[in-house]
Amino acid sequence: MEAFILIGITGIGLGALYFLIASGLSLIYGLMGVLNFAHGSFLTVGAFVGFWVASKMGFETTIPEFLLAMIIGGLAAGLFALLIEQLLITRLYERHIDQALVTVGVSLVVGAVLGGWFGNDLRMFPTPMWFLTAIDIGGAQIPADRVIYISTAILLLIGNWALLKFTRIGLIIRAGVENRHMVDALGINVRKAFSTVFFLGGFAAGVGGVLVSVYSNGVSPLIAGSYLIYGFIVVVIGGMGSVPGSFLAAMLIGIIKQFANYYATGLGDFVVVILLAVVLLIRPQGLLGKVRA
């Protein structure tokens, strides 16, 4: 039973990390049709800026200091995402394949710059001591950092939902995901929504980057790799453009992966791909996705 709880909560924690990267990918794709390979570099930029802020505070941070570093990392990644969108993506308006190609280029350049400056070795992220303690839940000893992953993901889900539900820009984004040309035809410049979505996606990925560097015991230009790919898988399974779909799929994948890995090392990745294939065969539009016209 303890093992069951431990694996379950660790799986949810991992799912939370996947959600942070997938939410932005999903909205960017849903609204603009852009497959964003640069999303991994948003994550890395957030991780490095967060790391830089946290290192200014010593080898160890307090919880507020850590949260500050995380938010600054997120903001930096958001601004970087905005820059990429303004500089490159908008100039290739509606050329979806070229947009995807340009983001591939961005991810290469960012990886090379960070690799050239800092090398590809892991650098310890200064975390609060509290992260190393364990919390007793139903007899299972849960590492405390998982709590941060899960609560951050939930906060972002709620924030995302509130923004989409209660603000005008949120309304424009939701309408744009469904039919961006009609939004334009109503006299609304839908491109403003594009920038917002890029900033928000970058922010979530940057926050995710800081948390991923805690989870993988350090920062390096290479940490984004598997998370970006899992992000894509989550988006496909959850349904393009659906944030709740991404959340559901992220949790599902995190949990399934952890349980599979418990029974056989390495089985997790395999099971996730089988799941992907099954979803594609039964519901190509994903769990909560709409069939596109």
């Binding site: 309304l171 424009i172 309408a175 039919n179 334009d184 035809a185 109503l186 006299g187």
Partner: protein, 234 residues
């Protein structure tokens, strides 16, 4: 006085040349019907005016060139569009569909007028637009266009696929609206066209082949020759 002047409009979609030098005027404060068989380029013409397709030639709104302007600016300049397949936002509620469309803060009167025209929209405000019937969706699409002050209304086949009773309801709404605005209406329902049109344009194979008054619509031979239907109802 013409609200809209289209001159020598050429539009290609991919490799197919759809519009070949379309030229016509839409007089202000009148309803102009744009007629023709299926696939002659009526919807493409409306979309091109809206900036949703790019073309060459000239499209002037009250003397201002709008060809090549981004779609959202064309809409802001006062061109309202009710598209062929309604294109309401099905994942948004009726209220959200209207809120999105309304660009004016002081829109109390506009809402009042719309709910007078379509009382159902008021009672179903919280319902998801995707769960509405075809007729109700059409009402949302028309209401969306009427929420703002417009120079011209582009309406594409508003009664397509509707039950006869709803056709009458939508038609009545259009007749009411017609008194107050300039309208360019694409419609297959000749009875409705006869009721509202003060000016008629006929297109064939991407060209305008007739522009003039509505009197000919009562001549079955003319109608048959121009539109390929045997007059009256289709």
């Amino acid at each position: 006085m013409n609200a809209l002047t289209v001159k020598d409009l050429n539009v290609k979609i991919g490799e197919s040349h759809i519009l070949h030098g379309v030229t016509f005027d839409v007089p202000a404060h009148k309803v102009t019907a744009l007629l023709g068989r299926n696939g002659v380029g009526k919807s493409t013409t409306l979309k091109s005016i809206m900036g949703l397709y790019q073309g060459t030639g000239s499209i002037e709104l009250n003397g201002q060139q709008i060809l090549g302007t981004p779609t959202y600016k064309i809409a802001q300049a006062g061109v309202a569009y009710v598209p062929e397949d309604r294109e309401i936002f099905s994942t948004l509620s009726v209220r959200e569909n209207l809120t999105l469309a309304s660009r004016n803060k002081n829109n109390g009167d506009a809402y009042k007028n719309i709910f007078e025209l379509f009382p159902e929209l008021d009672t179903r405000a919280a319902q998801l637009a995707g769960s509405l019937s075809g007729g109700q969706q059409q009402m949302v699409a028309i209401a969306r266009a009427l929420l703002n002050e417009n120079e011209i209304l582009l309406v594409d086949e508003p009664t397509k696929g509707l039950a006869p009773k709803l056709v009458t309801e939508v038609a009545n709404a259009l007749v009411k609206v017609a008194h107050e605005t300039t309208m360019l209406l694409v419609e297959q329902n000749l009875a409705l066209v006869k009721r509202v049109a003060e000016n008629v344009i006929v297109m064939d194979q991407g060209k305008v082949i007739f522009q003039g008054g509505p009197e000919n619509l009562s001549d079955p031979a003319w109608v048959h020759e121009m539109l390929g239907v045997s007059g009256g109802h289709k």
